[in-house]
């Protein structure tokens, strides 16, 4: 069996007395597309945030591409990773946020150049060329000199996707990337993600409320409830014949609303 691209091993996350994730075990294969669904507060966004190292974990280990992410080897043992180690391994992961989080004082192009220049050490010309190609791929070649405030939500989110891709990550995380968008702008963002899935060898992990998209796009769907994966499987299994009562309740509530 190939090494999983992402592996959660007994990962626990607590906020004070509240356990958000309870001994999570999850393996994601290279190039696999996994959709995470579940009610709010079920810990699904926390999974992505831990993987992006935005949250520290309380217990367990996360591996990425065969290397520990949350821990580093030291004298033959694994100890919690320090900032320097994190900076090295975190480059394998890219993230797109619900609220875009573009840098408002930089043009679309500059947003996509900042990290390649300062982290990957690309020259200005190389970074600019790559940024322009990526903006072209997300369909925004005519908007590259615009600032975030001059773009629609859908366009901003597409810039954010291009910005994350500019770092050439192996794993892309999408955290409810269409939730803050007006309904008519959702499609253009999902189309970009579809295209990415087809044209790039990327492992993708997405938290989403777009059940239709999850069903069509994902190789696997994980249903989170109460900090645990209650059920996971191929989308057609989860959506047509869920085994667990919790999953059925959640899906019928979601489908009723839409």
């Amino acid at each position: 069996m190939t090494t999983p691209m992402v592996k959660f091993e007994n990962v626990t996350k607590r906020y004070g007395a509240l356990t958000v994730l309870d001994s999570l075990n999850l393996e994601i294969a290279p190039d696999e597309k996994v959709a995470i669904i579940g009610p709010s507060g079920s810990g699904k966004t926390t999974v992505l945030r831990m993987l992006m190292t935005l949250e520290r974990i309380n217990d367990g280990i996360i591996y990425v591409d065969g290397e520990p992410l949350t821990h580093m080897p030291k004298n033959g043992r694994l100890v919690p990773a320090d900032e320097r180690y994190l900076r090295r391994v975190r480059g394998k992961i890219g993230m797109v946020f619900q609220h875009f989080n573009l840098f408002p004082h930089m043009s679309a192009l500059r947003n996509c150049m900042e990290a390649p220049i300062h982290v990957l050490g690309l020259s200005r010309q190389e970074a600019e060329q790559r940024a322009a190609e990526l903006l072209d791929m997300v369909g925004l070649s005519d908007k590259k000199h615009q600032y975030p405030s001059q773009l629609s939500g859908g366009q901003q989110q597409r810039v954010a996707i291009a910005r994350a891709l500019a770092m050439r990550p192996k794993v892309m995380l999408f955290d409810e990337v269409t939730s803050a968008l007006d309904p008519e702008l959702v499609g253009e963002v999902l189309n970009v993600i579809r295209k990415l899935g087809k044209e790039h060898n990327l492992t993708m992990l997405m938290v989403t409320h777009q059940m239709g998209f999850a069903k069509e796009f994902a190789d696997r769907v994980c249903f989170f409830y109460g900090g645990q994966i209650v059920e996971s499987g191929r989308p057609e299994e989860i959506f047509s014949a869920p085994k667990e009562e919790r999953t059925r309740q959640f899906l019928s509530a979601v489908l009723e609303a839409s």
Binding site: M52, L54, N101, L102, H105, V119
Partner: protein, 225 residues
């Protein structure tokens, strides 16, 4: 005669020269305050408590003691420890320290107002802490606090007469010397007051211009849509 124009013309050149010292002390003091303030603000926000706690203590200590005492301390007490500074240097350092601690609170408000998502995006892009501050956080934190910093510039300017206490030949000290030589205080002191009034108004107008310009460029970076 209550007001002697001839005397006014006579002392004007000396006062103008002294006003350059006042402006110099203001600009140097504020440059120090603006730089030190930013450093203190960043240190105070540090997650490492042995950096943030002493910094907070230092800022509170400086803000809670009069600037005149700080000026005296640096000029008269530091030499006891072998640090002998010219009056102007001691005065600029004291003003810079005092207003630096005030500016640090202004910067801190600006830094804390940058949305958390900006920090998270910087982390997700693997930017170093230095680049994150320099390219992402500071450019967003400072424009909104420029008016507040400008107020401290004017306040610092108006505190420079305190330097006359350690005999820096700035405007106030010069006016006092002129007055004691001729026993006429009305003209020199009035001229000094007028100078401060005019310069403060000019500075305030300038800050308003900068503020308006910043507001325009913040609301719509990159110009017209």
């Amino acid at each position: 005669m209550f007001w002697d124009w001839n005397y006014v013309w006579e002392i004007t050149p000396a006062l103008l020269r002294a006003s350059l010292v006042t402006i110099q002390a203001t600009l140097l003091g504020f440059a120090l305050a603006a730089t030190l303030g930013l450093v203190l603000a960043i240190m105070r926000m540090s997650r490492t408590s042995w950096i943030s706690v002493p910094t907070a203590g230092f800022v509170e200590f400086i803000r809670s003691t009069p600037v005149l005492i700080q000026i005296f301390f640096i000029f008269f007490v530091f030499p006891e420890f072998g640090i002998v500074l010219p009056a102007m240097t001691a005065g600029v350092i004291a003003l810079g320290l005092h207003y630096g601690s005030y500016c640090s609170e202004v910067y801190r408000a600006g830094l804390e107002n940058v949305p958390r998502g900006q920090w998270e995006a910087a982390t997700a892009l693997n930017l170093s802490p230095y680049i994150t501050f320099r390219d992402i956080i500071i450019p967003q934190a400072i424009p909104p606090v420029v008016p507040a910093l400008g107020n401290y510039l004017v306040a610092l300017f108006k505190e420079t007469p305190l330097l006359s206490a350690i005999a820096v030949l700035e405007l106030m000290q010069t006016a006092k010397i002129l007055g004691s030589q001729s026993f006429r205080y009305v003209e020199p002191i009035t001229l000094v007051g007028g100078f401060f009034l005019v310069m403060s108004l000019v500075a305030a107008a300038f800050i308003r211009q900068v503020e308006a310009w910043l507001n325009r460029s913040l609301r719509n970076p990159g110009g017209e849509r």
